[in-house]
Amino acid sequence: MKSLKYIWRNVMRNKLRSMLTILSIGFSLALMTILCGYIALQDVWGNEAQKYHRIVVMSTMGFSGEVPIAYVDRLRAMEGISAAVPYAWYGGMYKEQQMAFAQFGTDPNHVFNVWSEFKIDPAQLKAFQDDRQACIADRRLAERMQWKIGERIPLQGTFYTFNLDLKLVGLFDAPQNTDSLWFNWYYLDEGLRAKDEPLSGNSGTIFAKTKDANSMAVTCKAIDERFASSDHPTRTQTEAAFAQMFADMLGNLRLYIFVIGMAVVFALTLVAATAMAMSIRERTTEVAVLKAIGFSRWNVLLFVLGESCWITTLGGLMGIALGCAFLQGMHIVASQFVPVSVIDLAGVWLLLLLALAVVIGLVSGLVPAIRAAQFSVVDGLRRVI
């Protein structure tokens, strides 16, 4: 295409201006990439969860309610369920630090049947099952905390009155950084019962794996109906829906990011339009010559639009690259906040951002393009003479 070359030359004509516009768009779209990446991050758990057809049982009261431990066995006996474990959020302090990482009490004998996609060395799993005070951790968590196998990990309870004295016996690998530590639920419960605590016997939540994806809804309903009239009615949902609950807790995050995004996009359109208008104003004569030679208004319009789109697209590419680099950097230095690599996070939204850059180019180029297409050839040429 002959005209593409001409458009490209025009982009490069005032290198400084194009560069500044590209940088301006680049930095702003980098921010958009990060914000959208954060939203995508919220959906990762939910999307990921859909693959493994797990369900979560919690109390109708929410997290402060009780799900009796006896329910775990009853669930295991149910048709459609292949494995079930208690999964209690401990929320303890480690070295005076609150919420340094997630800690869950669970059943070592069944937990890898529920999270069948997680990998652990069989010898380490055995060690976890044999020792009440044993615990295992996500490999990336262990790396972050610089733990070695055999390390003692004391946890001070905040919600539970029983403090844990754990020993790290194994590391597991999950598709994404779970930033979690798993310990034996029965160790916690014995401790609580010895103190005669009201919280004993509570599994917190129950995670169960269904035999196939199709039966999930039916199974959830069956569980809730079974316990509906008991003292501890349950609310059972798919892991994806459970994940969504956490995403929902952040509130109007999407709306907020959308508002910020709109402001940024609008600002960018103004920035790009100003730059384009300056360029076209300087090129009045040239546009007149093009028209005199016989280029139609449409041709001129497309030249200008093409140029502005080129610039904003370059800015978009730069921004997306910069934003992804930032997210990846966060993933490396703070994987508890960005547990997912950009490669797993990437999706249609990146293409949409690029499309957004093109749209900004179109909209910002429109006014200068129409003006260029419309102004009179005679006036444009007169300026020369």
């Binding site: 002959k2 005209s3 070359k5 001409y6 030359r9 025009n10 490069m12 004509r13 004569t285 040239e286 010559v289 093009l290 028209k291 005199a292 030679i293 016989g294 280029f295 139609s296 208004r297 449409w298 041709n299 009179s376 050839v377 005679v378 040429l381 007169r382 020369v384 003479i385």
Partner: protein, 239 residues
């Protein structure tokens, strides 16, 4: 040597042109009649503000008359739409400007090729046209030079090559030597003579340089929007 209306390439019939600036009406052309035969070479002279560029713009299809008609190559320009005029110009008119008006970001070759991109020619045919045109103006060795790397005379020759590349019916030149030194100007005028005699191009040239005008076959004078002594034959004319 007034041509018959039937075989005239350019017919300007009782044309007036006014410009509006705010509430003022400025009459520029007051009833112009002019005819031009094929292969003619007309110099349009007159002092600044006489309306000669305006007349040239009308004939080149860049502007429309306030009244009267301009018929060039059989097309009545006054009634054509803007987009139609653009296409018409690309087929029939070659422009030569005082300040060359080359596109600074394109090479000599690409500048000449520019109007050809509006035609249906293949890439190869375009290449042939471009090389031929640059050959005519004697710049075959400057294909990849950018305008700023050329002298004024060379730039104007590229602009002439651009004007003839599409093999237009009519070449319009607005003060083609106005910005050049005597030597370069002489070369350009010689080139235009060749275009007229060897390549049988019809040319209209606006100039206020009598020397330049003397190279044309015919001279008309425009004064305050009116043509005077249209039949004056230039000294050096070979008619």
């Amino acid at each position: 040597m007034a041509a018959n209306q039937s075989d005239a390439l350019v017919v300007v019939n009782n044309v007036t042109k006014e410009f509006r600036r705010d509430s003022f009406v400025i009459p520029v052309l007051l009833g112009i009649n002019l005819q031009l035969a094929r292969q003619d070479y007309l110099a349009l002279m007159g002092p600044s503000g006489s309306g000669k560029s305006t007349l040239l713009n009308l004939i080149a299809g860049l502007d429309r008359p306030t009244s009267g008609e301009v018929i060039v190559c059989g097309t009545n320009l006054g009634v054509s739409s803007e987009s139609k005029l653009a296409r018409w110009r690309s087929q029939h008119i070659g422009f030569i400007f005082q300040l060359y008006n080359l596109i600074p970001v394109l090479t000599a070759y690409e500048n000449v090729e520019l109007p050809l991109t509006l035609t249906r020619l293949t890439r190869r045919q375009r290449d042939e046209h471009v090389r031929a045109a640059l050959e005519v103006v004697g710049l075959s060795d400057r294909l990849d030079h950018y305008p700023r790397q050329l002298s004024g005379g060379q730039e104007q020759r590229v602009s002439i090559a651009r004007a003839i590349a599409t093999d237009p019916t009519l070449i319009v030149a607005d003060e083609p030597t106005g910005d050049l030194d005597a030597k370069s100007g002489g070369e350009i005028l010689e080139l235009m003579r060749r275009l007229n005699e060897e390549f049988h191009k019809t040319i209209i040239m606006v100039t206020h340089d009598p020397n330049a005008a003397s190279r044309a076959k015919r001279i008309v004078h425009l004064e305050k929007g009116v043509l005077v002594n249209t039949n004056a034959t230039p000294v050096g004319a070979t008619a």
